[in-house]
């Protein structure tokens, strides 16, 4: 076993002001293995990766590559030592060709010739079975291809250790499969792959081994086939199994009979085709469908986030006009956007400022919320939602993903909405927080708030929603409730055909 070891990290320690991010963590990667690095947000995964790639300097510990102790000073240095990273956000240049992207920054004389460069790129792409050509402009390729090009670049630089940080979060199933076959191919060539993801199924599909971190400490290293999924989850969040399954069993779903709160006919926007939709007081419903099916665009139309096309909207039976977000907010609608970083948080502002933002907008510019009031609100919601932050004055950007999401939830809860739209509130956040958010949705519904919920995880939707609206190719293709609300039925409707 020992001779097979490619990378060994031992007793790694790293602290930030107020946080012990890594405490005596070990990690071992073998040749030709796909090793999943798992943990909740804030468990220390990213810190470990950043230590390994030279973004951070560790305070204690040692790193060995093929038995030789090394020190890594910068990402460039890590690359030179055979450790490459492909990040979630593509860090290549979209306006250059695939070939240029593969050789940029390391162009040797023989590649000044663009023909030779393209030829060489095509060879590598062919060898790896990546369906792209060297002469294509990178930006015209799909995200998956772009990611693969980044991988190809790393492979061509003779990387021994390849780190894939959330590579699948913006890919569809087909693309994920393509990526996985590439990963398996690299594995057979003896590359060690560290795979960081939130998708449990994918971990089981592709990885050989799993290392779990929690609160900056090593929980353990396991063979994938020996660790059941539920156990993995419990190791990640450190909660007992029963608690997890109990929510799944819970029957708190409201099949609300109350009055209709919101009703739209033929609503459309610059992004969404006309559709009909309604939600009752205290109801939880959801939009589902594949990425790009138009589910996000539809809820954005409800909130007035894009340019409104047409249609009539009634709230509590009264006709209203919602053409921009602030109109929707005045009518008691809140919207948690899909892309937290781009559309949600104001990263450099404090937790406090982020929490009061929406309420402040509704109050108007000339009725500022006083400092003491704002502090009270912030403290309240930090406590209620269990937001983990050093203080209410901490910039929200420095919080972990799950806690950022909670801050945005707090922002909307503070406005006491009648109707809350949550677009992928649980994406990219840890299991523990996911559960908290699901519980919160059900509790809100009990209190009479209507909620529209969108999630890529169908199971999660089934657990929370009493009605599912299924979309395909920008059209609503079905509505499921009651006994139809099960995984198979949803899948069938999404897939279409013999439903």
């Amino acid at each position: 076993m020992q001779e097979n070891v490619l990378l060994q990290m031992r007793n790694i320690d790293k602290s930030f002001p107020g946080v012990h991010a890594l405490n005596n963590v070990d990690f071992t990667l073998r040749k030709g293995e796909i090793h999943a690095l798992m943990g909740e947000n804030g468990a220390g995964k990213s810190t470990l990766i950043k230590v390994l790639t030279g973004v951070y300097q560790m305070e204690k510990g040692e790193i060995k590559v093929e038995g030789n102790k090394i020190s890594i000073h910068s990402p460039q240095d890590a690359q030179n030592k055979g450790i490459s990273t492909v990040y979630q956000e593509i860090t290549l240049c979209p306006n250059l060709t695939v070939a240029e992207n593969m050789f940029i920054g390391r162009d040797k004389k023989s590649f000044i010739n663009s023909k030779a460069r393209i030829k060489r790129a095509n060879e590598i792409l062919n060898k790896l079975g990546i369906p792209a050509r060297g002469s294509q402009i990178l930006g015209n390729c799909s995200l998956a291809i772009q990611q693969m090009v980044a991988i190809a670049r790393a492979v061509d630089m003779n990387c021994k250790v390849l780190i894939l940080d959330e590579p699948t979060s913006s890919l569809d199933d087909k693309e994920v499969n393509m990526l996985f076959s590439l990963m398996r191919d690299l594995k057979s060539r003896g590359v060690g792959i560290i795979f960081v993801t939130h998708f449990l199924e994918q971990v089981y599909e592709v990885s050989d081994r799993i290392t779990v971190l929690r609160n900056g400490e090593l929980v353990g290293e396991y063979l994938t086939e020996e660790l059941p999924q539920v156990e993995l989850v419990s190791k990640m969040i450190g909660k007992e199994l029963e608690e997890l399954s109990s929510l799944g069993e819970s029957d708190e779903k409201q099949s609300a009979e109350g009055e209709v709160f919101y009703e739209a006919h033929g609503l459309s926007s610059s992004e969404a085709l006309p559709f009909d939709f309604s939600i009752k007081k205290g109801e939880v419903n959801g939009f589902t469908g594949l990425l790009g099916s138009g589910r996000s665009e539809s809820v954005r139309a409800i909130f007035g986030a894009d340019k409104v096309g047409g249609g009539t909207v009634k709230i509590k039976g009264k006709k209203v006009s919602i053409t921009k977000p602030v109109d929707a907010m005045r009518h008691g609608i809140g919207y948690l956007a899909e892309d937290r970083k781009r559309d949600g948080i104001i990263a450099e502002l404090s937790v406090r400022e982020n929490i009061i933002l929406a309420l402040q907008v509704m109050n108007g510019m000339f009725k500022p919320i006083s400092r003491s009031e704002a502090e009270a609100f912030a403290d309240e919601y930090i406590k209620v939602l269990n937001i983990k932050t050093a203080s209410r004055e901490t910039p929200v950007g420095s919080l972990s993903g799950g806690n950022q999401q909670k801050v945005i939830l707090a922002r909307w809860l503070l406005t006491h909405p009648d109707y809350l739209i949550l677009d992928e509130p649980t994406r990219g956040i840890d299991v523990g927080t996911k559960l908290e958010i699901q519980k919160l949705v059900l509790k809100l519904a009990e209190e009479g708030v209507s909620v529209t919920f969108i999630s890529s995880e169908i199971e999660e939707m089934l657990r929370t929603c009493s009605r599912l609206i299924v979309m395909r190719d920008r059209h609503i293709v079905g509505e499921l409730k009651g006994k139809d609300l099960n995984q198979t039925q949803v899948m069938k409707t999404i897939a279409g055909g013999e439903a």
Binding site: M329, Y335, A337, R342, D343, A358, P368
Partner: protein
């Protein structure tokens, strides 16, 4: 304490690091060079007023227009992530309007300058400057033109517009009231422009206290998408920032005119736009927009003026000052750059670690 120090260098609190350190450095430098630099004396000027005089007074007085413009520029920078390079030209227009209205009143009523004329003229200058601000703001907020490009238009043609207003001449206005605005109010030994800066700063403070403009501006500057989805009208916020800068421009222009008692559209507040942007930057504000501290920009303005006066005190001629200033400013900006800050932060923590190690060793021995 040490921890504070480290944090001060590394982030958060550090927004005022650069201006405060710069001022400290300049003070230390001058203390070593010649402590009398800081002496303040009481003198009587020609009008028989008792006035404060000395280098320190020169600094806070001379930086007044710059400080006022820097306040408005900070807001524009924060909201739009870009700068208005037309403030000097716009101030020339505002100053010309100010003088023109006074002259018109004098002509129409055939009398000497009265306080009423000056108030009317100042209000007119404000309105005109706000209109030009709105023009710039519309280009930036509605047509999404980069601020520097959008304001390049007024930067280029502003002084020509002022030329038309003045009919090409450089008209003078002389009145005790104008002298009081640009110099000293009888019986008050503090220069009036300094008092105006304080008033403007207080107004900004009140504006931020009684409205949520600060929060909205920062939100728009940091993440326009998110701001919009939270119901903030970012177009309006950007436009508003330019209009507020317009008021600052009118005030600065009026002070500039009052100091000399004449409007020279070609040279009034010439080249001030770059100093203004620099003041904002030295104040620790990101020129890319987002979080801001008006106080930082005001300090930045005083740093620049202190530098000028220090150089004067070292017998550098007023024409050569620009070159020396450039050198020092490059140093300041480099010291304030993230790279150097990080390096300092690391040094401090290393020193701390060393010390604690030694302590531990000592304990063992």
């Amino acid at each position: 304490m040490k921890n504070n120090f480290k944090r001060f260098f590394s982030s958060g609190l550090g927004q005022l690091t650069i201006p405060i350190i710069s001022i400290c450095l300049l003070i230390i430098f001058n203390l070593i060079r010649d402590p009398s630099f800081f002496s303040i004396s009481i003198a009587h000027n020609n009008d028989g007023n008792m006035v404060l005089a000395g280098n320190l007074i020169s600094i806070i007085n001379g930086a007044s227009e710059l400080a006022i413009l820097a306040m408005g520029m900070t807001l524009v920078t924060a909201a739009c992530g870009g700068q208005d390079i037309s403030v000097g030209a716009a101030a020339a227009i505002a100053g010309s309007v100010f003088v023109k209205i006074i002259k018109m009143c004098m002509f129409d009523f055939n009398s000497d300058i009265k306080a009423g004329y000056i108030i009317l003229a100042f209000l007119a200058a404000c309105v005109v400057a706000m209109l030009f601000g709105a023009f710039n703001g519309t280009l930036v907020a509605v047509f999404k033109i980069q601020p520097m490009i959008a304001t390049l238009i007024l930067f280029t043609c502003g002084r020509s517009i002022a030329y038309w207003i003045n009919g090409g001449a450089t008209p003078t206005v002389s009145s005790p009231i104008i002298t009081a605005i640009g110099g000293f109010i009888p019986g008050v030994p503090i220069p009036t422009p300094v008092i105006i800066v304080v008033v403007m700063a207080v107004l900004f403070k009140l504006l931020f206290h009684f409205t949520s403009l600060e929060l909205f501006t920062q939100s728009v500057g940091i993440n326009g998408n998110a701001a919009r989805l939270n119901g903030i009208n970012s177009t309006f916020i950007k436009l508003l920032s330019f209009i507020i800068l317009g008021i600052c421009v009118a005030v600065a222009g009026t002070i500039g005119v009052s100091r000399l008692g004449l409007i020279n559209h070609e040279t009034l507040l010439i080249d001030i736009e770059m100093d203004t942007i620099l003041a904002v930057a030295i104040g620790g504000n990101s020129l890319g927009g987002g979080k801001f501290k008006i106080g930082g920009s005001i300090l930045g303005a005083y740093v620049i003026q202190m530098l000028t006066i220090t150089l004067y005190a070292m017998k550098v001629s007023s024409t050569d000052v620009k070159a020396y200033k450039a050198v020092v400013i490059i140093l300041l900006v480099v010291i304030g750059s993230p790279v150097v800050k990080k390096y300092f932060g690391r040094m401090v923590s290393k020193a701390k670690a060393n010390r604690s190690e030694k302590k531990a060793k000592g304990a063992v021995e």
